[in-house]
């Protein structure tokens, strides 16, 4: 990977983690390292997919970029500025359900603009627009508990996109969706992303999805997470998620990344088994 000097005009990376380490204090009082010495740079407009064994620290890495958590050591910069607190240009689709259960679907999607002081009428209009893009126009008056898991996830997507984030952090956003909707949403995500020029960090366990969407696929080590290997996906754009899977280069990349990831997954699994024994 080429190191980009952040002070060079026009070459400021969208996201830059240098030596980022995150430790949590566990209930027993010991320190647990979730992320260790992590270096990662994401260029403006770049789509980066992150894969790694479960529990290795992918979600934690995203919370560092979002400003929800501070790194214990090292530095996190967004557009050259050190991260301190929440940045209005960052959108975050959480791994867990995080829509507001007491708000209707429409009101959930309006929440972001309303929090940012957009007048109600304009916020409603923008929210309706996004609801139609995720195919939920007919459900705007429902409460989240009246929706399926996949529908709630789409509400979360609309809720994030309606704020037009320049940096989009997505933590397994499609894992609750059925295969068809997932392909549809993936294509839609690519379309949206191409239009906005925003940078995306996309965490997933689905290698197919990672390769089909991303410019680069980052493979993380078994926890504590650090970057193991980075693969550049040199497949032409615009891509269609379904079509790109059939290309020989895709299959080749899949095999390479799988070999790299498989080793870490095995380490994680052995560790878990060792602890259980």
């Amino acid at each position: 990977m080429v190191h980009v000097d952040p002070h060079e005009a026009g070459a400021v990376p969208a996201i830059e983690l240098t030596g980022a380490t995150k430790r949590f204090r566990t209930p027993s009082g010991t320190l647990h390292t979730a992320v260790r010495e992590l270096d990662l740079t994401v260029a403006p407009g770049e789509f980066v997919a992150v894969v790694g064994p479960t529990g290795c620290g992918k979600s934690t890495t995203l919370t560092l970029v979002s400003g929800l958590e501070e790194p214990t050591e090292g530095e996190v910069r967004v557009y050259g500025e050190p991260v301190s607190g929440i940045n209005g240009h960052v959108g975050f689709v959480f791994q867990q359900d995080a829509v507001f259960p007491w708000r209707t679907v429409l009101s959930n999607v309006m929440a972001g603009p309303r929090f940012r002081g957009v007048p109600a009428d304009e916020a409603r209009e923008r929210a309706r627009d996004w609801l139609s893009r995720v195919g939920l126009s007919a459900f705007e008056d429902r409460y989240p508990h009246q929706l399926s898991g996949g529908m709630r996830k789409r509400v979360a997507l609309a809720q994030t996109f309606v704020n037009d984030p320049r940096i989009l952090l997505m933590d397994e956003p499609f894992s609750a969706l059925d295969v068809q909707t997932r392909a549809l949403m993936s294509d839609q995500l690519l379309e949206l992303w191409a239009g906005t020029g925003s940078s995306v960090v996309f965490v997933t366990h689905d290698l197919d999805e990672a390769i089909a969407l991303a410019d680069r696929v980052v493979v993380m080590t078994a926890g504590p997470a650090t970057v193991k290997e980075v693969f550049t996906v040199d497949l032409p754009r615009p891509r269609s998620v379904e079509a790109v899977r059939l290309q020989p280069r895709f299959v080749e990349l899949y095999r390479e990344i799988w070999a790299s990831l498989g080793e870490e997954v095995r380490i994680t699994r052995e560790r878990g088994a060792g602890r259980a024994a």
């Binding site: 975050f92 959480f94 995080a98 507001f100 007491w102």
Partner: protein
């Protein structure tokens, strides 16, 4: 077509059977409830008439009924029955509202601001450990015979359960929801008002049910100790004239009033919590 009807018929009758079973069960429950009440009252009446229990101390349902009728038609020694009920309700309601508002505000503030919780936490625990009902006579000295002393007793009884529930509710808000709101652009104030408060309402409402009962107790005990009007005074007056039927009659009226307000609260809760999935036990 015959095949279709053949398939549809048993399905329809099955729902019918199930519905009928559910209805029968409901009727059975209500019937059994009424039977328990009738049995209890009947046994009481019979025991009291045959002298198994002393009617002077234990009274009997028919006399209690007569007493209530007399109060309804001729009024009580302190004025009409409605006025007494209104007085007690007014005191309880005022105390309840003040206690709830104070409890919710303080609970959420302390739940949100760590510093406040650390400073005031021990004091609130100490105050909570005091049996607060003994404050009623003190309030009588401070605030006199009027409603103010009863309102004060109601407030101290209501405040603590509401406070602790609001505090707990504010503490236990789903961290993902708070994180999401902050990412979406909510300020601290908006997180409190639009995430913490709605999330804590479930907790707060559980305490509202219990605490309205406490407010009534506060008002009644206050009246019992010293007042010019109210249901508590009626109990005290009946007791003073060795009128056991009067004591029970006042208690019966109180129970009906409490049940009625409880019903109103449940209704308000249903309206407010439309966003919640119905309980599995609700049998929607």
């Amino acid at each position: 077509m015959p095949l279709e009807t053949a398939v549809a018929a048993p399905a329809a009758s099955r729902t019918e059977v199930r519905e009928r079973a559910a209805r029968n069960r409901k009727v059975g429950v209500y019937g059994a409830r009424a039977a328990v009440l009738a049995g209890f009252l009947g046994l009481w009446e019979v025991c009291s008439r045959t002298g198994v229990i002393d009617p002077f101390n234990f009274s009997q349902p028919s006399r209690i009924w007569d007493q209530i009728r007399q109060w309804v038609t001729h009024g009580t020694a302190q004025g009409s029955l409605g006025e007494q009920i209104g007085y007690t309700l007014y005191e309880a309601l005022t105390g309840w509202v003040l206690g709830v508002v104070g409890g919710v505000l303080l609970g959420i503030a302390l739940g949100r601001v760590r510093f406040l919780a650390d400073v005031f936490g021990p004091y609130i625990k100490v105050l909570n450990a005091i049996p607060r009902i003994v404050l009623a006579p003190i309030f009588l000295i401070w605030f006199g015979l009027g409603p103010a002393s009863k309102v004060a007793s109601a407030v101290v009884l209501v405040f603590f359960p509401v406070f602790f529930n609001a505090f707990q509710g504010a503490r236990e808000v789903d961290r993902n929801l708070v994180a999401n709101a902050r990412i979406l652009g909510a300020s601290n104030r908006k997180v409190t008002l639009q995430v913490v408060v709605p999330a804590a309402t479930t907790w707060i409402f559980t305490s509202l049910h219990v605490s309205f009962g406490f407010a009534l107790i506060g008002a009644i005990v206050g009246e019992y100790i010293g007042a010019t009007k109210g249901l508590g005074l009626m109990v005290a007056a009946a007791q003073g004239t060795f009128n056991a039927a009067g004591v029970y009659a006042a208690m019966t009226i109180l129970a009906v009033v409490a049940l009625f307000t409880e019903g109103l609260l449940t209704f308000a809760e249903k309206r407010l919590f439309r966003w919640k999935p119905a309980d599995a036990g609700d049998g929607r």
